[in-house]
């Protein structure tokens, strides 16, 4: 008897599993990531409030809000592109997410270090 082991131990690549769960799990994974990005954006706003410099504070809040909207747009676009069969390749979405994360790190450093 031959049995193909699942790819990642969660079973949906099992030939007997209902079709489409790989796509569903990937979509939910993008949603979880968008949710995490929202949490980080809120924490960035909270940290920006300790800034004494009003202009710096406003700039950090504005950039954080725009960056968050950008990350949400990437997640939304990728989820929408996943409906075809086979789903469209990820394209530049991973690179966009990674740059967004790096940008939030830089913004966080500015919020934490600047007086």
């Amino acid at each position: 008897m031959t049995h193909t082991p699942p790819l990642d131990g969660e079973g949906d690549e099992d030939p007997d599993a209902p079709p489409g769960t790989a796509r569903l799990r990937t979509r939910l994974s993008w949603r979880r990531t968008a949710l995490s990005a929202t949490g980080v954006m809120l924490l960035t706003l909270k940290t920006a409030l300790i800034q004494q410099n009003v202009a710096g504070r406003a700039l950090i809040i504005a950039v954080a809000a725009l960056g968050w909207l950008g990350l949400l747009a990437i997640c939304r676009k990728r989820i929408a592109a996943m409906t075809g069969t086979p789903p469209a390749p990820a394209g530049w979405s991973p690179a966009g997410m990674a740059l967004g994360i790096a940008g939030f790190a830089v913004l966080g450093i500015a919020a934490a270090v600047l007086p």
Binding site: L7, D8, D12, E13, A22, R23, R25, T26, S29, W30, R32, T33, S36, A37, G39, V40, L43, T44, K46, T47, L49, I50, P86, P87, P89, A90, G91, W92, P94, A95, M97, A98, L99, G100, I101, A102, F104, A105, V106, G108, I109, A111, A112, V113
Partner: protein, 130 residues
Amino acid sequence: MIFRTVRQWFDPREVRSEGTRPDYRYSLANERTFLAWIRTGLALIGGGLAVAGFLPQLRVTHLREGIAVVLLVLGGAIGLHAVDHWARSERAMRLDQPLPPSRFPAVLAIALALGALLLVLILAVGGMRE
């Protein structure tokens, strides 16, 4: 070399010109691994921001900011590592090669364990300002 790597992150057409397209479920599994790394990076960035925003000042000057910056830099580095590993794995699957090995998880685990130990020591010796 570095330029080509970075270009592959943004323009996977170059990757798609090589080899054959793997079963899309493999690509989606690779994408989920990438997203799990991204959330790990976001968690560290959130941790750094929480240290900067909520932790009281420590006795050692700028120690609080130092901890925050280390966590934030680590979070950003994880994001860049994630996309690099994703692109290299995608390429390896197309060329039917073994997935790229990485020391990054081990290094990260050790760095985080040492960092946590350091924080425990700081708290144990009363690093908080009264």
